[in-house]
């Protein structure tokens, strides 16, 4: 049950994600973006970072990397595919998820703990959670504002929304100005998920929160799917 952790030249969360996956019992292996065959893996994670420097739109170059073929094949086969932060941007650019990620409201990088509410448990990232459960997880991004035409959101499943400590969704707690407060989004099938906050950074209470662990456990539990 091994997970591929994709490394573009400018990815920078690859080792964090690999360690966090191993901490919840998965086998995880770094895979260079020139590799196109991921058939030996049960799932794939695209970690955060700046895939090719993000001097163009984030993910605009990454979608043409050879590894995209392997990612698409896993997605097609119904296996779990997770894009975190920059990985979310790449999945949108590649058309595996609807919409795009644009500059934060306020045009500044945001690095802080936020709260997200589970709004669907029908995704590989949230299946071990409860509807309405509130998780405290770090948001660390500059282009983290989810943008899409209104029909676009409906073509996917909103897995998580930014909210306050009690689970109330409002504009104040939608720090980056995402459409409909979207923090995490899946395809209809629920096997391809993009999530802007970093679950791996909340996978150990010594780091301020262990709330991300249940998400990674969900993902690892889904490795046997399809």
């Amino acid at each position: 049950m091994s997970v591929a952790v994709v490394v573009y030249p400018g990815t920078n969360c690859e080792r964090d994600v690999m360690h966090a996956l191993r901490d919840v019992g998965a086998e995880a292996e770094l895979v260079w973006h020139r590799e196109e065959d991921l058939s030996g893996f049960e799932g794939v994670v695209l970690p955060g970072g700046f895939a090719h420097g993000d001097y163009l739109r984030p993910g605009a170059i990454a979608r043409f990397s050879p590894v995209m073929k392997g990612i698409e094949e896993l997605a097609e086969a119904g296996k779990p595919v997770l894009g975190i932060c920059n990985g979310f941007q790449v999945l949108c650019e590649a058309g595996l998820l609807p919409g795009a990620l644009v500059e934060n409201r306020g045009l500044r990088f945001i690095c802080r703990f936020v709260h997200v509410r589970i709004d669907s448990t029908d995704t590989v990232l949230t299946r071990a959670t409860r509807l309405g459960q509130v998780l405290r997880i770090p948001l660390n991004s500059y282009r983290g504002s989810y943008a899409v035409e209104s029909a676009g959101v409906e073509s996917g499943l909103v897995a998580m929304r930014y909210c306050d400590e009690a689970g109330e969704v409002d504009a104040e707690h939608n720090l980056n100005g995402s459409v409909d407060s979207v923090a995490g989004l899946a395809n209809q099938r629920g096997n391809v998920v993009g999530f802007m906050p970093h679950p791996e950074r909340a996978s150990d209470r010594a780091l301020g929160s262990g709330d991300g662990r249940v998400l990674l456990e969900s993902f690892v539990a889904a490795l046997g799917d399809a």
């Binding site: 030249p9 964090d16 260079w32 990088f109 690095c111 500059y142 970093h198 010594a206």
Partner: protein, 728 residues
């Protein structure tokens, strides 16, 4: 070429020394190299004689000052590499790129030891935020640090932000980096064999940053100097990330016999230092350097400060393997040099020789500049006047005034733009006394605190600097980490002014005294002179960056937000309560006068308080252990209350004790009733219960209470409200 050497910032004496070294007139390329390598920035010609006696030894020191970075042993086969640098002048000319490339440069210094950079700290100082240009500089510097650090994948765990009018036209941007490595991966230095190959790694070379070290960093500034913008380099964190991974793989596969950063003075510096360090020479082929621009002259290629480049030295047998590593990480690798016997750096431009100089003369041959030092006139005046600010109308009002000072306010506006969580090591992040990182796979924690105090160092550079060392040591101790080494960044004005030189010599003496008292070795440092503008020299601003080791790391390290209802409040200090208002934040707020002579550090008490803080933090006896510094006890307690979201009642009425800034004092929040019995206090230290946490207001004696939420609103909003409307 008498005119050219002046244009390049060289004196006639230095020019004559070049001719004496070569026994002939230098070529243009040679003169360019000497002008940079002998600049103040590269050669330390004014400061070196004063730095030689600084204590830099200790059983833990693996590499001391003079290496690419200082290296200390953490035990268990782990080493830490640390270094601090300034990028003051470039950041005034172009704040975003100036700060960004400062980050890039310090990362490569740490990388040159074979260490993976794991965290950054920035010490940034500006004029007052009421000035729109200051807001532009502040915003640009913070964005530049964020833009580069966040993308390159190294977390920024904090640092310092301060504001004084003297920094209006000369901001200070200091950057410190910490790296870790296995002891086997330390890149060797010294012996190189003839025939070893120098490989230029990373970005191609362009015309950016030419003369940065001599033109920008080694001369005073005036307002027109924005025209020097072409001398500022442009950063590319994406290229840097690839360079880091390449170099680390080369180091871990033992493919390196040497590794050097290309920073100030470009490949001229890297090649001459590599050769001189090994007692060798080098043949350098300019034709082999990949370049970004056409028709670059030999001089331009030699001293370009294009970013994201390293010079690796590999044995010829390992060259194919090394080139393959670079190819896989998608960066350029070009064999440009060969190590030779003798000690000559020969630079080939095609078949002709563009330069042929003794490598050692470039790297270490700068004539020492003997700068006279004399006590400036202001010193006796300020010492003669006592710092006796007026009493506050009410304690609460004075406290809110302090909380609204940008230097004392919450820095969340700054550090929330920095990724401080990357790497999954941040146990105590920015906003606390010291940051604490865990070292994965071990029980160890690494703590860092960086500290400066321009106002106190102006009033007494020796006492001011000495107190900084004690404060920085205390700030790592409160996380449970024992101080094991430091690097310093000495930011001063024009060294050709005897008064500035006196400040420098005094500060170095204070640094030396404190390090000897605490037995903490100095493993590296940087000197930045010529921080002056049309309005004069900056206040002397030494910055201390202290590294501490917690082994094992406490299970629950103290943090400022951990006080809860019912906990006791304790003061750890010496016996006598002597308020110190010289250079205090309270005096600045109340009457703006900067007079008096600050109290000196007390080595016995200072050491004792650090030791008690370590016992409390390491033993898990306290939820909060907080150093009392600027703003005094009142501000320190309010910080705990605001971050913890709890009120407090403290039995101190005397405003002098509340706002004074005597050294070596710590506040503790703990649920233990017998704190004094849990630690060995030694002879000098007292632990006094002074109050209790609870409720949602803060009571200072019988003064009118202050609501925690009201205080917090002022404190959190002080910087954002001044920066409102600046959106990038």
């Amino acid at each position: 070429m008498p005119e050219l050497h002046h244009e390049l910032g060289m004196t006639d004496l230095e020019y004559t020394a070049v001719i004496d070294t070569l026994n002939r007139e230098p070529t243009e390329a040679e003169l360019m190299m000497y002008s940079l390598m002998w600049s103040e920035h590269c050669s330390y010609k004014s400061s070196l004689p004063h730095l030689r006696d600084l204590p830099s030894d200790g059983p833990q020191v693996v590499v001391g000052p003079g290496g690419g970075a200082g290296v200390v042993d953490l035990g268990g086969g782990w080493l830490a590499a640390l270094r601090i640098e300034s990028h003051n002048h470039p950041s005034f000319v172009e704040p975003y790129q100036g700060a960004a490339t400062g980050v890039g440069g310090i990362l490569r210094d740490v990388l040159s030891m074979g260490a993976r950079p794991i965290a950054l700290w920035n010490q940034i100082r500006f004029g007052e935020l009421s000035d729109p240009r200051v807001r532009y500089l502040f915003d640009g510097v913070v964005s530049g640090i964020a833009g580069y650090g966040n993308a390159v994948g190294v977390p920024t765990l904090g640092g310092e932000v301060a504001f004084e009018p003297c920094f209006e036209a000369n901001p200070l941007v200091n950057v410190m980096c910490l790296g870790i490595l296995r002891s086997d991966d330390l890149v060797p230095s010294g012996s190189l064999d003839n025939g070893d190959v120098a490989v230029l790694l990373g970005a191609p070379t362009g015309r950016d940053g030419i003369g940065g070290a001599s033109i920008l960093a080694s001369a005073s500034f005036s307002e027109e100097d924005v025209s020097k913008r072409p001398a500022v380099q442009v950063g590319d964190p994406f290229a840097a990330k690839k360079l880091i991974e390449t170099c680390l793989e080369l180091a871990s596969r033992r493919l390196l016999v040497g590794l050097q950063d290309l920073g100030a003075a470009g490949i001229a510096c890297a090649a001459s230092e590599t050769a001189a360090g090994a007692g060798s020479g080098m043949d350098l082929a300019l034709d082999a350097m990949p370049r970004r621009e056409d028709r670059m002259s030999p001089a331009e290629l030699l001293v370009s400060e294009s970013q994201e480049r390293m010079l690796a030295v590999v044995a010829i047998a390992d060259l194919p393997a090394a080139l393959e590593v670079a190819r896989r990480w998608e960066i350029e690798a070009s064999p440009v040099g060969t190590m030779t016997a003798g000690g000559t750096l020969r630079v080939f431009d095609g078949d002709s020789i563009a330069a042929e100089v003794p490598a050692e003369s470039l790297a270490d041959g700068a004539p020492v500049a003997s700068r006279p030092a004399a006590k400036p006139g202001y010193i006796d005046e300020v010492w003669a006047a006592a710092a006796e600010p007026q009493a506050p109308l009410d304690v609460g009002g004075a406290l809110l005034g302090l909380l609204d000072q940008p230097a004392l306010a919450s820095k969340a506006w700054v550090y929330e733009q920095y990724d401080h969580m990357l790497g999954m090591g941040t146990v105590v992040g920015p906003g606390h006394d010291g940051a604490l990182l865990r070292l994965r796979g071990t029980q160890k924690g690494l703590a860092v605190s960086t500290d400066g105090n321009s106002r106190r160092c102006l009033l007494d550079p020796r006492r001011g600097t000495s107190r900084l060392v004690f404060e920085a040591a205390l700030n790592v101790a409160v996380t449970g980490a024992k101080p094991i080494g430091l690097v310093d960044n000495l930011n001063f004005g024009d060294p050709e002014q005897p008064g500035v030189m006196w400040q420098f010599v005094e500060a170095v003496a204070g640094l030396s005294d404190a390090c000897r008292s605490l037995e903490i070795p100095i493993v590296g440092g940087n000197v930045s002179f010529y921080n002056s503008s049309d309005s004069g020299d900056i206040m002397p601003t030494p910055v201390i960056a202290m590294l501490g080791l917690a082994d094992p790391m406490p299970e629950t390290p103290p943090r400022l937000d951990a006080a809860t209802d019912g906990m006791g409040l304790w003061l750890i200090a010496g016996g006598g309560d002597v308020p110190d208002f010289a250079a205090s934040a309270y005096a600045k707020l109340m009457d703006g006068e900067l007079v008096g002579r600050p109290l000196p550090a007390d080595p016995v008490l200072g050491k004792g308080v650090i030791d008690v803080a370590l016992q409390l933090a390491g033993g898990g006896h306290a939820a909060v252990v907080h150093d009392i510094s600027e703003g005094g006890l009142a501000l320190a307690l309010t910080e705990i209350c605001m971050m913890s979201g709890v009120g407090a009642k403290v039995d101190i009425r005397d405003w002098r004790i509340l706002f004074g800034e005597a050294p070596h004092r710590v506040l503790v929040a703990s649920d233990r009733s017998n704190l004094a019995d849990l630690v060995d206090l030694g002879d000098a230290v007292r632990v006094t219960p002074i109050g209790r946490f609870g409720g949602d207001v803060i009571h200072f004696g019988d003064a009118a209470p202050i609501a925690v939420v009201e205080a917090a609103a002022v404190w959190r909003n002080a910087i954002p409200r001044r920066m409102a409307g600046r959106s990038r």
